[in-house]
Symmetry: C2
Subunit: 197 residues, 2 copies
């Protein structure tokens, strides 16, 4: 059956959508099922708990986002241009979210990190892995940029890659607070300052 | 009665403590009252709603934090030294939280901003005002640093002050995720890169 075969994906989509817009703690399995149009009894056929669904939702969201990050950061052209494109993409994604949903929802992982890090060690552990992968991806492109002479070697370390992603998360927070994606329009100018030694 | 006279402050302290460590949506008035050792009937003598308490808790937390920020950012000595001291203070505060509570709780305003911006316009509005005040305080010290020749004039604008606070919020997120305040030890090095033109 078409509906049954997509029920798992619908549950993941519903969970992602709810977790982007609301606090995790207020979202129940019944609401996720209602939004996904899946019977509550079927939920436990796919996921043993809300926590298990959350891990899979994080994985699905990151798999999708990661594909875009890899395409940009490991694409063609000079590494510095790819970094710039990456930051422009991040701003564009929040502009799109604002247009489509009426709200800058921010970053699923950032939202969950602030709410759940002290509350759920399994979710915290998976989020830490995702952010580590993000830092690794940016670090690899920074390293290329340094090899190409566009970034000084001391600014191509992992610490700088983390700092650059912290700038992204902090500015996304301010964009979400203002519900205004144009807050992110200066992101590359700021991030590129972090890439000086 | 001593207990009655401090009940309002105990409710505010309890709300701040709970909101630092957990998602807002999971915290109920009954739990706040229990933690504050105040009867639930008394709660509504002081606050007409959880939202009203939240606004007062934000105000109380910011009044306390603001005093420290003003003392450092408007204190004696060169403006650039005060900015450095400010960032060292932020890292030290999370080290203290880790030691006292066993957890890096992060920033109350950042936690609430990501969870509540799309959910409660009154809380969102007050948080936006607090962050604007924070940006203004940093901007004023940046302006002094530029006048003293320590920071190039183009990097002493309000946009840079916001970027510097975004760096702080993003790095606090990573420190909370890792429950490791030493994540913040490079904060001044990063922020000072943002202060170049």
């Amino acid at each position: 059956m078409g509906r049954t075969s997509t029920a798992r994906e619908r549950l993941l989509d519903a969970a992602c959508g709810l977790m982007l817009s609301r606090g995790y703690g207020t979202i129940g399995v019944a609401e996720i099922c209602a939004r996904a149009d899946v019977r509550k009894g079927s939920f436990y056929h796919f996921f043993e708990s809300k926590q298990a669904l959350t891990i899979e939702a994080i994985n699905a969201h990151w798999a999708s986002q990661r594909a875009g990050w890899v395409a940009t950061l490991r694409g063609d052209g000079p590494a510095e241009d790819r970094l710039e494109r990456f930051f422009l993409d991040q701003a564009a994604a929040q502009h799109t979210a604002r247009t489509q949903n009426g709200a800058v929802n921010g970053c699923l992982f950032g939202n969950l990190a602030l709410e759940m890090s002290t509350q759920d060690a399994v979710v915290q552990g998976r989020l830490a892995e995702v952010f580590d992968e993000q830092i690794d991806l940016v670090h690899a492109t920074l390293t290329e940029a340094a090899e190409q002479g566009a970034v000084p070697a001391p600014a191509a370390d992992r610490e700088t890659a983390r700092a650059v992603l912290a700038q992204l998360e902090g500015m996304v927070m301010f964009a979400k607070l203002a519900n205004d994606p144009s807050v992110l329009d200066g992101l590359w100018a700021q991030a590129s300052r972090l890439l000086r030694s």
